[in-house]
Symmetry: C2
Subunit: 155 residues, 2 copies
DNA sequence: CCTGAAACGTCGACGGG
DNA sequence: CCCGTCGACGTTTCAGG
């Protein structure tokens, strides 16, 4: 699966403003609105684009506690089971298996520290979880939806 | 800053489909399209909503290496300087200061392992960076744009 | 908050490079 | 194959109630 430079520019523009009209995008990249739509539709079909979403300020919406939690497990839980189990906890916003000592690394968003403790308890009760290690997020320095693919020369 | 239950539902819908029309949203929550637009505009004004974006499958677009990098620094670099420095590296998709031994935790998206090594070198050359510790992501289990705020009763 | 009407955007069908 | 133009339809947006 390979991307046209025009596709990359379109994705870049949609990354900065997911609701920009096809006509405006076309004007910026030198295509007509239908041509842009056809490309976006194709990108959706092939799965390169998986959807559109709103970006919210989590902290302002009351999710004040942000943390990474490493999971140390007994044995090797099936990745499928692990995914299902942690996916059931709504405060888990991301989870992945990783190299290193821990078996999985979770990103948690909780209302406050008290709420976070409850989530941690919930995770510790999964029978294959031996222990957890928490790293609290203090301040956010950078947050991008995706890597910047312009070929460096900005600034 | 407090949110109406209607605002929460609207944000929830936009989270699942950031391009859904105000008319359809209005139909789902029991408002007219202009009423929905006014709410979304207000949420944008107050900063609760910071924008709209496209969701892409990074792996399919050629960003095959995903890793967490802990930064250990000499002294306490100013958070502002750190943010500026790591923000200049396009492969850094997120960065935050954290509790624990490390001073900062970065999320990196690189084209491949070779590309990742280059990024790591770039980070190591910042003069206040003493050492780094990499954790490679193996497989993604969960990935949500934000915590699920439905009050648990699903499944 | 809703309703209406004008401006705007979307999206299929069609023809040309 | 991918592009552009056109026209019908849906949506946004602002006025007024």
């Amino acid at each position: 699966m390979t991307l046209d430079p025009l596709d990359e520019r379109i994705i870049g523009i949609l990354g900065r403003d997911g609701r920009r009209s096809y006509a405006r995008i076309g004007h910026e990249v030198g295509l007509s609105a239908p041509a842009v739509k056809r490309r976006v539709d194709r990108l959706l079909d092939t799965g390169a684009i998986t959807g559109f979403t709103v970006v919210v300020d989590e902290t302002r919406l009351g999710w004040q506690t942000d943390a990474y939690v490493e999971l140390y497990c007994t044995g090797q839980p099936q990745p499928g089971q692990l995914a299902r189990d942690v996916g059931r906890v709504p405060e888990v916003v991301s989870a992945c298996t990783v190299t290193g000592d821990a078996d999985a690394l979770l990103r948690i968003r909780a209302r406050d520290v008290r709420d976070f403790e409850r989530v941690l308890d919930e995770l510790a009760q999964l029978d294959y979880v031996a222990r957890t290690k928490t790293t609290l997020v203090l301040s956010h320095l950078v947050d991008r939806p995706r890597p910047d693919s312009r070929k460096n020369g900005s600034r």
